[in-house]
Amino acid sequence: MRSFRGGAHPEEHKLATRFRPIKRAATPQRVVIPMQQHIGAPCEPLVKKGDQVGVGQKIGDADAFVSAPVHSSVSGKVVAIEPYPHPLRRQVLSVVIEADKDDQRFEPKGPNDWFELSPDQIRQKIREAGLVGLGGAAFPTHVKLSPPKGKPIDTVIINGCECEPYLTCDHRLMLEQPGEIVEGARIILKAVKATKAYIGIESNKPDAIALMRKTAEPDIEVVVLKCKYPQGAEKQLIKAILDREVPSGGLPFDVGVLVQNVGTTRAIRDAVVEDKPLIERVITVTGSGIRYPANLRVRIGTLLSDLIEECGGVMNNPSKVIMGGPMMGLAQFTLDVPVIKGTSGVLVLSHEEAMLEEPKACISCAKCVDGCPAYLLPALLGKYAEKGRFEDCERYGVMDCIECGVCSYICPARRPLVQLIKLAKAEITKRQK
């Protein structure tokens, strides 16, 4: 079975939701739409307080190329435009919309015959739909689909690994909408003029592998990958499927590859075929602190408190709320934050699970070295970072760290390795400015 070198296999915890079909979450009374949900320039609001907005209406945009517009996920009235707590940042200018009673759904347009569209027209539709990578990084999709001149893309990889423990939203999507995902993959192939596409799925999803094979083959190949974190990390996925190594500091197009997550691929299909903007996404709400774990189709801007209410509330002395998966997700300090485009899961952990152990001295067991998918020496980087020796961190390749967290997860001395490494990276970036 194909894979990459290194990694770890944390307990999966996917059973709570993997057999639960995707359910549409109730429309919240209020949504909070941050003007920045992506990597790149923030949007400027296009509406004013008091305006009536329709579902799918563009409410924020920016002129910058690396940016993505935002749309209203409900029909209703703008009640405020103000800084609001954000799941990834402190406060971000957000449009707060009070939903009206009729609970409108988005009316799909089209269907457009995408085969008649040029690559530029496809990218334009994707940009207008405000698409970003739904796997978590939230990089604007139209930018990713525009490789620089001289860097042609020959291969597209659709990422269905879902290697983060607990999360099952991509798995459910593959089971429930395989046709849309495959159509999205074909659209991507056309947009970047590539010839070959793969769908990479971890071996722990045999049902999804079988169904995607039936739907996608023969022109798109489904590749079974070893169930190992971080199998879904872009560079590791490319290495596993194609044995191409993205150069240090480079991007996948440097080796002629484009990677898109299955959720994004499905959204690309909707944007191109139905002119549907990114106003909702599938999220796994789970963890021992959630009464009824579920996979939900949620409107962007839904507050975490509403989402958790939808899942029957919390239990088991909940003590940690994580936006995303347990390996790379962000702990939240309030439930008064909205679901954004890059939110793949909401995880509530019990008191026991949330408690942190005291770090001990490194015993040089090198489990972090063996586990590091970037082939770094996390034990050493951690020691240098702790002493403030950031130049030494840089010399030992700290900037190549993908922040997957395997080193911290695997450390028997409980040393906060990836945390120290992130600190070193931030310090080095700051000094370079």
Binding site: A8, P165, K320, A361, P373
Partner: protein, 322 residues
């Protein structure tokens, strides 16, 4: 929940169940077959030496930690492991007072003086052994016949170890005796079978890296084998090299001590290679019949250098002249 206190920390939010102390206790567990064989062959004396070394190690660790004003962590299994390993490295005829002294040195000078677990440069048990070899060379090279202690209190007859017999009398002990451990030697080094059983468990569970033992044993077999091919009458064959003396105990349980060996994968190969060469050189041309302890201690000393010069290629790194 809004009113509740929540934990906010940087990812990852989950952690493996393997802890430092679990690793230590697993190695202790893996040494039990070897310890059991030593109890069989050396009877009460083995029991006394093991008990006294373990108790001394735990007490020394606790007292020194208290003196240094540090948290007392004798329950982490590391001092227990050092005590046990040192006992298994002693000749059965070792007086108990000398064993106590060696253990105090192992924990004190081998470990605590550097700052405790994780900071020591040399394998603590081997520091204790080297100290005893230097201060009481006669005691450390007086070997007794296995099973002789059943006739306590009559003193056991002294004999040479298989390596000594080979070196000074060119007599080769049978492989079967070496495998089961029915030979003279340190408590825990004699039975290859018991050591391999314990180490296999660690390897299968992923608590031990296979590179260092493989490279160490392989180097001894190959390098020793070259001289055997040149002169089979004078030099022992590779299999004898592997089975006799403290090589198995050293390669499987001391060259694999994480703290004092390289963290890079290439470094682990280098460590085994270097230690293997030193063992063969000492065994064939040195003044002593055995050189495992010194080979590991020497390589411990150069481990920081090995780490430095074996930095792995980073993912996506293109090296010049590659």
């Amino acid at each position: 929940m809004q009113q509740q206190r929540v934990v906010v920390s940087v990812s990852p939010h989950i952690v493996t169940s393997v802890t430092v102390s679990r690793l230590m206790y697993m190695v202790v567990l893996a040494l039990i077959p070897a310890a059991a064989v030593s109890l069989y062959f050396f009877r009460l004396k083995a029991a006394l030496l093991i008990t006294i070394c373990v108790i001394t190690a735990l007490l020394t660790e606790a007292l020194l930690q208290k003196a240094r004003g540090k948290a007392i962590t004798v329950d982490d299994g590391s001092a227990l492991l050092t005590g046990l390993l040192l006992a298994l490295n002693l000749p059965p005829s070792m007086p108990l007072w000398a064993a106590i002294l060696g253990t105090v040195v192992a924990i004190g000078l081998g470990k605590q003086i550097f700052g405790g677990l994780g900071y020591n440069i040399f394998n603590p048990a081997l520091v204790g052994r080297a100290f005893l070899s230097a201060t009481f060379p006669v005691l450390m090279t007086t070997w007794t016949r296995p099973l002789a202690w059943s006739r306590l209190p009559v003193d056991a007859t002294t004999v040479a170890t298989p390596l000594g017999l080979m070196k000074f009398e060119h007599f080769r002990t049978s492989y079967l005796k070496l495998l089961e451990g029915n030979v003279s030697g340190s408590l825990g080094e004699t039975s290859v079978v018991a050591l391999v059983i314990g180490a296999s468990y660690l390897l299968i569970k992923g608590y031990m890296d296979w590179r260092t033992p493989l490279s160490y044993l392989g180097t001894v077999a190959l390098f020793g084998g070259v001289f055997w091919l040149i002169n089979p009458h004078r030099y022992p064959d590779p299999l004898f090299h592997l089975l006799a003396g403290g090589l198995m105990l050293g390669a499987l349980f001391m060259a694999t001590d994480p703290v004092t060996t390289p963290i890079t994968k290439a470094g682990r190969w280098v460590f085994g290679l270097g230690a293997g060469l030193i063992v063969v050189v000492i065994r064939l041309w040195g003044g002593l019949p055995e050189g495992v302890a010194y080979s590991i201690l020497f390589m411990n000393g150069v481990t920081p250098l090995i780490n430095r010069y074996t930095r792995p290629r980073r993912f996506g790194e293109v090296r010049r002249h590659a």
